[in-house]
Symmetry: D4
Subunit: 254 residues, 8 copies
Amino acid sequence: MNEAALRTLLHSVASGEVSVAQATERLKRLNIEDLGFARLDRHRALRVGFPEVIYGPGKTPEQIATLAERLTAAGQTVLATRCGPEAFDAVRARISDATYHPVARCITAVRGRPPQAAGTIVVVTGGTSDIPVAEEAAITAELSGSTVERLWDVGVAGIHRLLASHERLYHATVIIAVAGMEGALPSVIAGLVDRPVVAVPTSVGYGAAFGGLAALLGMLNSCAAGLSVVNIDNGFGAGYVAGLINRLAGLRSE
Amino acid sequence: MNEAALRTLLHSVASGEVSVAQATERLKRLNIEDLGFARLDRHRALRVGFPEVIYGPGKTPEQIATLAERLTAAGQTVLATRCGPEAFDAVRARISDATYHPVARCITAVRGRPPQAAGTIVVVTGGTSDIPVAEEAAITAELSGSTVERLWDVGVAGIHRLLASHERLYHATVIIAVAGMEGALPSVIAGLVDRPVVAVPTSVGYGAAFGGLAALLGMLNSCAAGLSVVNIDNGFGAGYVAGLINRLAGLRSE
Amino acid sequence: MNEAALRTLLHSVASGEVSVAQATERLKRLNIEDLGFARLDRHRALRVGFPEVIYGPGKTPEQIATLAERLTAAGQTVLATRCGPEAFDAVRARISDATYHPVARCITAVRGRPPQAAGTIVVVTGGTSDIPVAEEAAITAELSGSTVERLWDVGVAGIHRLLASHERLYHATVIIAVAGMEGALPSVIAGLVDRPVVAVPTSVGYGAAFGGLAALLGMLNSCAAGLSVVNIDNGFGAGYVAGLINRLAGLRSE
Amino acid sequence: MNEAALRTLLHSVASGEVSVAQATERLKRLNIEDLGFARLDRHRALRVGFPEVIYGPGKTPEQIATLAERLTAAGQTVLATRCGPEAFDAVRARISDATYHPVARCITAVRGRPPQAAGTIVVVTGGTSDIPVAEEAAITAELSGSTVERLWDVGVAGIHRLLASHERLYHATVIIAVAGMEGALPSVIAGLVDRPVVAVPTSVGYGAAFGGLAALLGMLNSCAAGLSVVNIDNGFGAGYVAGLINRLAGLRSE
Amino acid sequence: MNEAALRTLLHSVASGEVSVAQATERLKRLNIEDLGFARLDRHRALRVGFPEVIYGPGKTPEQIATLAERLTAAGQTVLATRCGPEAFDAVRARISDATYHPVARCITAVRGRPPQAAGTIVVVTGGTSDIPVAEEAAITAELSGSTVERLWDVGVAGIHRLLASHERLYHATVIIAVAGMEGALPSVIAGLVDRPVVAVPTSVGYGAAFGGLAALLGMLNSCAAGLSVVNIDNGFGAGYVAGLINRLAGLRSE
Amino acid sequence: MNEAALRTLLHSVASGEVSVAQATERLKRLNIEDLGFARLDRHRALRVGFPEVIYGPGKTPEQIATLAERLTAAGQTVLATRCGPEAFDAVRARISDATYHPVARCITAVRGRPPQAAGTIVVVTGGTSDIPVAEEAAITAELSGSTVERLWDVGVAGIHRLLASHERLYHATVIIAVAGMEGALPSVIAGLVDRPVVAVPTSVGYGAAFGGLAALLGMLNSCAAGLSVVNIDNGFGAGYVAGLINRLAGLRSE
Amino acid sequence: MNEAALRTLLHSVASGEVSVAQATERLKRLNIEDLGFARLDRHRALRVGFPEVIYGPGKTPEQIATLAERLTAAGQTVLATRCGPEAFDAVRARISDATYHPVARCITAVRGRPPQAAGTIVVVTGGTSDIPVAEEAAITAELSGSTVERLWDVGVAGIHRLLASHERLYHATVIIAVAGMEGALPSVIAGLVDRPVVAVPTSVGYGAAFGGLAALLGMLNSCAAGLSVVNIDNGFGAGYVAGLINRLAGLRSE
Amino acid sequence: MNEAALRTLLHSVASGEVSVAQATERLKRLNIEDLGFARLDRHRALRVGFPEVIYGPGKTPEQIATLAERLTAAGQTVLATRCGPEAFDAVRARISDATYHPVARCITAVRGRPPQAAGTIVVVTGGTSDIPVAEEAAITAELSGSTVERLWDVGVAGIHRLLASHERLYHATVIIAVAGMEGALPSVIAGLVDRPVVAVPTSVGYGAAFGGLAALLGMLNSCAAGLSVVNIDNGFGAGYVAGLINRLAGLRSE
């Protein structure tokens, strides 16, 4: 039952066409879907500032392209993650201004510009192999209206590189710290700054890294307060939650 | 907003006191709670046939007794699981007809009699150490209106004991198979009968039993079809789902 | 010793040709196989309502085709799971009316129609990637005589989609809930309805999903009663046990 | 080298007492400690808004009391977590206005009032057993200047309880969602609201809950975006990071 | 149906009192239990050579004593494992010649003497902490008729102690190698001798020993052929299977 | 120092050419290698009855062929496990009478005939997918002089198939029970017979089978005594230890 | 056969009392024990520099005291680890100059002074809870002749504390880095200095620390080269290996 | 701020151009980067003796070649690990004297010769499959100035092979022990010698080897003191730390 239908029903009650008892009965049966319009509105508003996301794995290039086309047709920004070049070819055949980000393996097509958050998200990686995950986080955050600074390869094995960058860290609103292997980077950063740190373990490593488990456990057990963790390799999730946090700090007046 | 309030609102619309626009606005804001009465009715009906459950661990005897008293005051049957004798003493001080089941470590106080299911649930254990979990399952099933047969200590290490009981298994509507250590019993039973088998791994065992993990994995990997699994030591869960299944097979005409 | 042989032996005893002592000796040696005819009859009856299953992995297309042919030659329905198109080509070369279900990766060839259960199994998935497992469950249940409704992509991340479908869930006899990642769907459903829920974790996910382990643990630890769990990706097992349960609720009068 | 010493050195350079070469040499050797005053200042400022934390386990009541006394002597607020009543007795003997929070098992003694954040942190639990962890989070957040709303026992097994509270969730700035067993609560909440959700798995549960592992994995694998996770039972960590986030949203004008 | 009953039935057939059809029907229904007498005989014979075992944990001293008394009353040897001194007190009150083995924590009461195997079982431990498990194995093997030699504390960290004993190892029929921590002892022994080695991991160790898991994995992955493994701390199981093997090598002529 | 050298040294002592002090010094320095001749003799004798084994993975066909040729040149039997057809082609090019066992993926070339053990090893599998591992066990046992009976596909899901074969199991000297998935077969067998059972878990299965872990844990936790376990898929290890055990039971008089 | 016996035998050969053949036979049978004197000498020499170690857990105070007395009677230094005060009381009753180290829970009694290594071992902890393990390491190293510097509570959460101490780290010969929780400290240190770092994970932490597993994995996966790891809480092992390394750098000239 | 800039600033203070207050302010803001030159010098010195390492996985041949070229252009030695022949082709196209080590899968190009350590590192493997990891360790150690002896295939299954080599082990300064499967080799070696042993678990094995986990746990739980462990398959890490240790023992006078 959409708003028009509800209005019609109430008019019928007002006019006496429908009895109060009948209307009561019908409204009691309203399922949540019928009330959905409010939520959908809210969702639509929300989506102005955030892309619909297509998760690539397990989908054919054709399926990805179809979903992307449907979104742009509805005026929405597209973000497709973990996609290969074939998927991009299929998307570009339908959306001529789509962009491929080869490092992050993301496809984007921007429609409208979300409100720009005033703060800055700094994305930091421990090593060069963590960059794909970090780029996925950075692109996600940018699409949701955040300014992003990238700081690659400042892992704790050479702590002086990290410390040399501490000015940039101090000016961040939120920090996304991406690291594999032992995953110590977010701990060190959270010990240096008093901003929320979103920690992203990566599957970089071998042997007892167990596909990112070592980094994940390291981050969860951080002796530094101020950090929280997302799933292994989940750049998108980190970028999304960092974007939500950054938006709290206010919008850029333009 | 309960039904009376809804009715009042609609009368106001019918009488013209409230405009259609105003009523639309109010009804759009209806949160789910307001629609809750239908669901609550359904739930209340459901509860006639099933006890409210109090999970004992982490609660003081006094807290358990208070919760139990509130339920019986509302005319509902009580089932409190994993409770020691002190908890029972506290409950009996308030509910004089409460019963303690020392093996299952359950407290019950029956109020009203649920509709009796026509079928039979057979609860089987591999060893004597599995009986507490099995009793919890049996009591739960009985309280929900099922007839229960108990068949203890027929584990696969002496397969002839199990086979000797196959007639009883063939007459079951549902079977709850409770076993620790390697947890092979449900597999063997599911290979013998064509009834749903609810498998309950127990934490009985030592060493590489890893607190029931071995039994759990064994049951999940059963090469026999027709069984599904609940959590380690979860007698209550097994009794509950077996009760739901048994009820599907029809009620006893009385 | 089949029934005829037993009868002959008893006639010989009746006629005095064989002494009681000799017959006692022979009957004592009866091994279980000899008594097997009763079980086989029961099995045959059972099979009228349920397909023999061929598990594809580790078998060549030729082996699958041979097994399938043998079953249809015996008038039995075939269900081959986890088979690629090559296997289907091999089967169709021998069984012209075989059908391939590409999403579920199943091959079926129906012989006879099982008694139709009166109830309905609703198969629900959390996401689109769970559909192959859900389809395997649905096809298995249909072949065993159940009516199946499919409800795809109603995961808890957008709980309103699930709630919007609650009417369909309330009318189910049994629900099969299929979900990967955190596997919360079956918990939410079991909290909404009072029907048995068969939970199927899938290996959909990455990182700390650990190939379905996260979903499996989530389902086993559900705080909602009324659900039981099968192995990761085990659509067949879920469909089979749901079929057994659904049959308990009675057959369709035709 | 503190600021005064630096100043003295530079005066000596200015007066010619110390040559440039000598001063260069000394300043090159400055270790980080010498530069520490800036950092310490920053830290002190930070501490105005946040309590020093004493982690109780492994410390004697006497040690906890000594640490607490030292902090209050320095004019700082005390938060001691995971402490029993004996520890509180020892603390109160020295700090007469100390408070014990028996559910959270925390000791607090407030010195000065941190700047109050304008937003609201809503702390939600799945069950009653999760409340101690949630209270630790709530107290931590309150001490750091956040307004906290508590919403207990709205787990997904009875999803209608959660949905009934969605208005309160929509008004939150940050949400802390605390749940044990399968840990599905944060997923469901993150699917309903577009605010950052800090998920806290608890060790509540048994069997395959594996001390909180199931809840942890469930939260990490959430199919809903917008949440990040802290360690099992880490109420303090969740309260701390939520406080940092809430502060981003601005301070209350008073 | 026991043998007498079968005989009676056949006499009735012979006399014409029971028709062949009726007898066929009854015999078809013979369940396995009825055929059990052969098996029971076999079992009884087997038990002459092997004690019934009472597993102590989870049983009260009184229950252990009752079970032990029933066994001795039936003329059978008793072996109760993992029992404390209280259990022994209860047993001795009923069985005056019962013996307590404090290191192995076993209670024994011998009735009859099993046939003595000609070979020798050598039980070896890596360290002194492994002796309780090794003693349980040794006592089990002795009760089943094997001669046992004990060789304690010859772990691989001081390989020369082991090598110094190689003569004794060469003369063994079967070797039981008991070790905790890294569990390397059985590998080294299996590389020295060409006799079956039964490897018993123990829970001795700390940290990454994970309760015996490290030793268990070490033994399963042994690069030496000729060994097989039982559960962690399962001295009884090792003694039992070693006894079975040793018996294969022939009995002592007496 | 070989025996001749030792003899020469002693002759020199006897003749006075070498002083007692010098000889003492030299003999003190004797390293273990020098004492090795005894051990080598023993090993050589042992090898008459058992093939040298080449473990295929990680070796090129050429390397396998070279090793095999060296063994046959020394008059020894070859067993190469886990080899593909390419490896066999390379071996046959050098050893014309080599045989390939495609199911077990073994290459054999027999040189000499080991003493034949009097007993019989029965190799049993739960399913058809376990046959490759079982064949590796069977071939290993045959090469070491054991008579082997194969009993395929008698898993516990259809327990009647296993029971139908119990006569064959009762006549075995040793039983090798090979099973994947839940791995219950060895437990059931050990409960039926009083012979040593060597249990072999296989990696057959999916999902929570975790590559054979479920079967392994099931076998280690067997509630039946009399079985011991080898590594997942370790057919060779099972065949080797079963051969050692079988040989204990005596040799066939020929 | 000790050296004297060997000498006697050779004299008998020299004198002709024993033939060369007989002597050959006897010497061939020499087991390794007989050759042990060389090794024992070497061991004794080694022990001058290193205490015999008594591992406390599982031993009674009386047993510990007996072992300690035997060592001092032989002129050897005693180190007993993981011992409570009762054990110390028992030891002191026999060895009046024994010392108890309550933090490390070690008992020592020094006999003789090992050669003093020229280098310095710096033992560093991440937090105060790691000190007991670190003290065990420090005491072990000191007893083996190393000079030890202690640097407590410099964990990575406050990286400036660590950096402030880098001068002391640069002057170390070997560093033992002890840390629980996420265990990042050794990585950071190994990135700062070019000395061997022995990393000791501790079981300090809760939740996903999993008893030290998180710290262990973190250290094994360190992205910094130059570190190696010992078992969780294994202070003794770290002190021992660091002592061996430190001794390589030369002895102190005295 | 580099040294020149610092000097200029101080000159300005000396000349009065800059006030003490201004200079204080600027020097307080000095970030760690500015102080970095000392550290960089130290690092450069260090690098004379040790190659920069390029970790191959996840890098294209072109990227590896570029990095390698940059290093040699700076006069530094190159070590690239885990590289295939394609990577080598790309490197050789730019660095004509580069060498490929096919077993270790390393590329090296030596520039300058590090100071040669006086001691010897002995690298030992349990089996032939461990050689690639061992070679990586050996090459790393050689490049850092150590003399390396290789001792392949002396695993504990044939302990006499190891013992036969004990003279070579006794002469080592450091031992690197590389083993897969149960990983017992380092324990046995550490029990024989009193030198530091660096243990390297490898992923060699199958089934319950779990990719090297069994070997890793075995080594961590070694009952022999004197060993420490690196990550699974981490030959480079072992070679690096062994090189650091070996250098402690002094340099070769040349």
